[in-house]
């Protein structure tokens, strides 16, 4: 197939075949992912621009320092690292499912898809805990307006923050930070949730033998691309909110 494609441009682009040697469905999944990447990118860039435009901003190590069942312990970034690790591992199990599909190993596909779904649900549970915990500290969309929730504010900033800047702009910065945080992680969480739903559907189809009958497991690959994209976005969200 590929030698024919290399022979002449007319043959490749002459119609009646895929110039990239890929099926329609796969190409469209890639381009959907591109469009989604731009959407997420636009959100993250607007976060970055707002932050660069601010003379004071909450400190990630101070905002994200709790861990489930560990009460008051100060464990900065530990929980989000666990979440990142869970999502990366679920991406790995997804690759293994795709590989099993290439080998027409139905039981292998089932096994690895189940692990991927478990990983996705674990990540969503962790994110839900994180949201609930921050909400208990007065953080939410539209928070910290007009002095509301001011007692939580100092905990979100570095202990050596400039008191003058904090007094004049701290609440406003926290307001913007949490608007962005809940919007972006919420939008990402919706993608993880829909990815879990898609994975369950594909798992059920696999168990029913739909793909054995079809002769190929390309649907597992396509849904795998979506899942990897979800993981990739998290890698960038993790960097922007928690590290930079």
């Amino acid at each position: 197939m590929s030698t024919v494609a290399l022979e002449s441009n007319k043959k490749v682009w002459g119609g009646g075949q895929s110039p990239f040697n890929l099926s329609y469905g796969k190409i469209m999944m890639w381009y959907f992912l591109m469009s989604d990447a731009f959407t997420f990118g636009a959100f993250l860039i607007s976060y970055g621009t707002t932050r660069f435009f601010s003379s004071i901003w909450p400190d990630a190590n101070s905002v994200f320092k709790s861990f489930p069942f560990c009460g008051d312990m100060n464990l900065p970034l530990m929980f989000v690292s666990l979440m990142t690790f869970i999502l990366i591992i679920s991406s790995v199990t997804m690759v293994l499912a795709v590989h099993a599909g290439h080998c027409r190993d139905k039981n292998g596909v089932i096994k690895w898809m189940v692990w991927t779904i478990i990983g996705g649900i674990a990540f969503l549970s962790c994110q839900a805990w994180e949201w609930m915990h921050l909400h208990h500290h007065n953080a939410w969309w539209g928070a910290f307006r007009n002095g509301a929730g001011a007692e939580s504010l100092p905990h979100f900033f570095r202990h050596d923050v400039d008191p003058v800047l904090f007094a004049s702009g701290g609440a406003d910065a926290a307001h913007k930070f949490f608007n962005f945080f809940f919007t972006i992680t919420g939008f990402h969480g919706a993608h993880v949730a829909s990815g879990v739903v898609l994975n369950i559907i594909i798992l059920l189809n696999t168990i029913n033998g739909t793909y054995e009958k079809r002769g190929h497991y390309e649907m597992v690959e396509k849904v795998g691309l979506y899942w990897h994209f979800v993981d990739l976005v998290w890698v960038f969200v993790f960097t922007c909110f928690y590290l930079l």
Partner: protein
Amino acid sequence: MSEFSHYEADQSALYSGEHHQDANSPDSKAKVKKIWMITLYLTIITIVEVLVGLYVSGHMSKMYVNSGFIIMTILKAYLIVKVFMHLGDEFKNMILTILIPLVLFVWFIIAFLMDGSFWLWINHHFTIR
């Protein structure tokens, strides 16, 4: 099934199912090993990122730390896209249709971050708006 639309032609040859290989062949085992190796790299990079975020970021110049984070993130993205999403196995022109817009995106990122910090600077230095 041999009915296909006039525009799509016969796609059955394109479905990735034709890489028919046995799950226990050495080729397959080598691929699985590669997947786990890449996983190890990703884990190591993430651990380094977290350690830098915890211990180094307060003490080194912000610009170096952030450049380091961005480089590590792009490295992770590169490994995930090339190996896990199999983009590295595709036709070069297909790879380019994905990569070129993303490279232009980097320009977008730099432009807007510079815009934001310019606004901050100008608000601090000039009282007449």
